[in-house]
Symmetry: D2
Subunit: 346 residues, 4 copies
């Protein structure tokens, strides 16, 4: 059985495991105040060309999203998100559990537009029922989105302009940021992403780390007391150096980007497998996640040898499924998948 | 200026004011444990033909909705509601503030169907991402709805059957219950409503009381410690007897229903005013709220003499507005409105 | 049976009832935006000599405390309070329910000192575990306290100086403010109270109103979006004019202070009854609540004719109890109590 | 510099690192549903002699405590804890953030007694203000406590009897459970601990794991939907197998207990160092944490070579400090400490 279900099927990049082994018996202080965290922070700030940013390390996307959002919002404010946003769909109501409504904007491709945000802001702001409705307090987007799609530099710039105009901090969920930034279609760099939002995170868990996400706080107004929020929500790892070590490794010699690029190469091959065999796609994704549409009968056969993620029913006999490549995906496994798909056609 | 904006423009029915005056200097114990609350509870239980129900009095719809919903749900559960549900739109995120997501079902007329609830339940229950999504934990409907529409006995029966099948307690927001039960189109009685849900409230604030709502807990599993919830959420009035006195009065000699029927009579006349003058309606409401669609130019003129509630833009030059009748609406004011509308046509 | 259990046994001062009757059929807009609320706000601001203050009306002390505190604090902050503070003891965890810890300071007489606040602030601020502990974010006191005691002008001034030094907004719970300000021992005026805190409320429920509390926001930094908080927490009364009318009446011709003074006169007589008969007191209260200590045997006898509030066990055979006078307490009832207590000694 | 500040200074036991390396490139499903988690669960259940228990893996003590407590309590309930309990002192209000009050019981040695719990329960239950106070809903203890002390089998049995009598589920925080169970003074076994509570956790983070805690749910009533709670609060690790692998290793060949015993041996030597040199102790701890009292002048000298945790000021010139031994503490470092302490006496 070969699995393409997700990008967190394996452990960590070998370079990270090696660092963890080498440093295992060293003694460091806890809670992210050690020298490895300090070094990782410096490398991330350099990579972002953001010398004044604050960088914090947390474990897990849900915890990171909740901590950031609960830190930014006032109690009566909500967060604008695409209906397909991870915070709206797949975090068991973590945001609501922290007291805040997710205010959803419709989307086909996982993205929201500057116009949608501005219209929502105006609709609320000029309503006679203003105080009876949740005030939009920030904007959440994923880069790449849950469907593997990407904001262009023009789209992100326009969105951020509106956010600033409406005083809505923009938060970018970068759980798969590496896969977004290194795909062929992307015209954004990491420093540009950093400059075009107020706070974002660089996902490690799905991009080569054992676990861990690095929150980068660009807007000084959002920096105050963030570590209190982390501790309260359970996100301050006692052995914080484990996170520092991993991000230090990922941001040494461009490892984060190199392994992301590899995943995208593998994803292109996966895309070609399905395209060559005539399958349509549910999302037009240039990144590491691919979403072919197949008949349920074919899925039953393919599923005997290959793991995939069931995404959504398309019609009575067809479904969209996800194949994810990652830093760990091998040419061998992709070649086996090609054979498996081609066999369906015989 | 004559106002039709809402059903809470005036104080209370004179019979209530009289009772409050008569009893003003009496001494009673606090927090709803006095004899007036006891008497009101008995009358409400009798009117509901529900001798085993628990009855609690609170002040305000938002507080009542939040207290009930937070009492019923487990932390990871959400409440199913029409997108137009009051809890989803006009309570500034009170439900989310208590930690719970409002899980919305689309609607045109303010109602949701048994099938929608069952489909949502099944979609969640059989999803591979089951534990990553908010579990539906109860169902919220308004009777009548925010658009003045009504569930038929057949619809409510079918909905409640599905709720029981899916173990989803059904909560009916009866902020305007009297106006619903006494309109011509309604085939439900109060005892039937009580029997077709797990918990509901009888709104006083909009139906003749100065303020106050009576929560009726039908399902024994939902009774435990409800007063703790009320106190914690600020809903336990020190001078509880004020609520008891009001509901005791409303449920003496059918006053609640008599004054509701009056409002519906007035609403029918309001409806006729607009219908006779060729205006379409945004909702097909048989109850005390009427939603004609008018041109913005006409609204500007009409608004000089008559207060109405702006509801929603319909197209670039037309809007839906609300005219609400209540227990306090007079024939004189309705006659004046007819003149005002007819004048627009000249 | 004559009750002295509390100061919310009767309805409202007759002048208030009269106003409610007179205006009952008037139409006003809702949610506190009517002319009666506007007038009441002006009178309260004048009485406080605080023309720039914001004034909001809510129903109930628990709701008011929770709304104010949740509005002031950041998620990781708590509120400093005497262990005996109402928010710590008798609100069923309403503050915690909004996500905040009550940080308690020990007290014998219901008051906390400037030194206690400063020491706590410093202890937290200079702790190596700083971020692992709840940050004190504001200070809560009651004036008068739950034991009927009072802060002197010097004490309050010193406390507020420390609060400002430590950037801790000071919130005064004035549920019984009138009874505090008009007692013989009080050297504070309403404008002084207003100037010596950041936000406070003037209690109506226990001081002549049917219900209602008036929040006065002195510190401009705490004003923003307070009405959103009110609506979210269920504290925005639809018929807001009921609150406006009551406070307008209370702040016309000094009614609020006149009726408070009456209560204190009655309380002095109650105090004398117990003192003359040799009973010690649990608190040294100069205000409307008196706390004699009696034997349980005597209480059993007295309790047959007179209602009191059980306060606390003092030793195996004695208890502290509360007798509360109010705006509604009559000379007749006090005289009857004297006879009842004297009878115990025969 | 040699550190004794805590038991989370190093990485993980080498046997764990080896397993992580060996399995690094294997593919497994996520979220704790892999075979390593399954194996670890079986071993833990066997070690607890609790074949029907549920076992869940989370990252971090604060997150584990919050998830368990928020899962057990109803909204109006609080958790009874020693004032010194970790949830009360050092989790930045995480429990309150989930809506619940920590109800504190005074303690000198970190422990609470059966009598304290029963008295609190009765005091609340029979109070006339019952509904105005937070209802105790569960009991939290640490084993060993934050001061390194231990409950005896008799004490724990008596406590649990009272908990059952009062319907208060007992939760044991076992962040350092191994160090408790293997010290000389302990008369409890793991199966006994499991049988004497409703839910507990076995700490990995401080006892040989890189990170991770294993929650064991003994009481069937507390099992339902626990994974929803984990996901909502951010505690469901995507690569759950990392936790499974670690606990599988720790519960193979008694590794968890062997390394715990080593720590206690080292702690006895540390204890002897201070005892031999005439220092008193702040807590009488038989476990891995030792709390000598030293003069501030001596601390300044000792602190140049040795890291310790500052605990509490004892008097104007003396402080209590903590020296923690762990699975990783070496004989060499302990010998160096002896030299350092003895040097102070010269």
């Amino acid at each position: 059985m070969i699995y393409f279900n997700s990008d967190y099927l394996e452990g960590a990049h070998p370079a990270i495991m090696e660092r963890l082994m080498q440093t295992n018996m060293e003694q460091t202080v806890g809670y992210g105040e050690d020298e490895y965290c300090a070094a990782a922070r410096e490398k991330i700030k350099a990579a972002c060309q953001a010398p004044d940013a604050d960088v914090h390390f947390l474990v897990g996307g849900t915890l990171t999203n909740t901590t950031v959002i609960a830190s930014v919002l006032r109690p009566y404010q909500g967060v604008l998100s695409a209906t397909s946003g991870h915070i709206n769909c797949h975090e068991t109501g973590a945001i609501e559990s922290s007291g805040h409504k997710v205010l959803t904007l419709p989307t086909d491709n996982g993205k929201i537009t500057a116009k949608q945000v501005e219209d929502y802001y105006n609709w609320h702001h000029f309503s006679p029922d203003y105080e009876h409705m949740v005030m939009p307090g920030m904007v959440y987007i994923s880069l790449p989105t849950e469907g593997g799609t990407l904001y262009s530099k023009a789209e992100l710039t326009e969105l951020y302009e509106v956010c600033k105009k409406c005083s809505l901090p923009l938060f970018i969920d970068g759980a798969r940021l590496g896969y977004g930034l290194t795909c062929d279609d992307c015209d954004l760099t990491l420093p540009e992403v950093a400059r075009l939002c107020d706070i974002f995170y660089i996902g490690g868990n799905k991009v080569g780390a054992l676990f861990g996400e690095a929150v980068v706080v660009m807007n000084p107004a959002l920096k105050k007391d963030f570590r209190f929020m982390m501790k309260q929500r359970g996100g301050m790892l006692a052995k914080g150096r484990l996170l520092g070590l991993q991000f230090d490794t990922l941001f040494t010699d461009d490892l984060y980007f190199k392994i992301s690029r590899h995943a995208n190469e593998m994803a292109k091959k996966i895309h070609a497998i399905f395209e060559d065999n005539g399958y349509p796609f549910f999302f037009n994704s240039p990144t590491n996640q691919q979403y072919p549409i197949m008949s349920d009968a074919e899925l039953a056969v393919l599923g005997k040898e290959f793991g995939y993620e069931y995404w959504e029913r398309v019609d009575e006999t067809h479904s969209a499924i996800r194949f994810a490549a990652s830093w760990a995906t091998t040419e061998e496994n992709v070649a086996a998948l090609r054979k498996g798909v081609e066999a369906l056609k015989k």
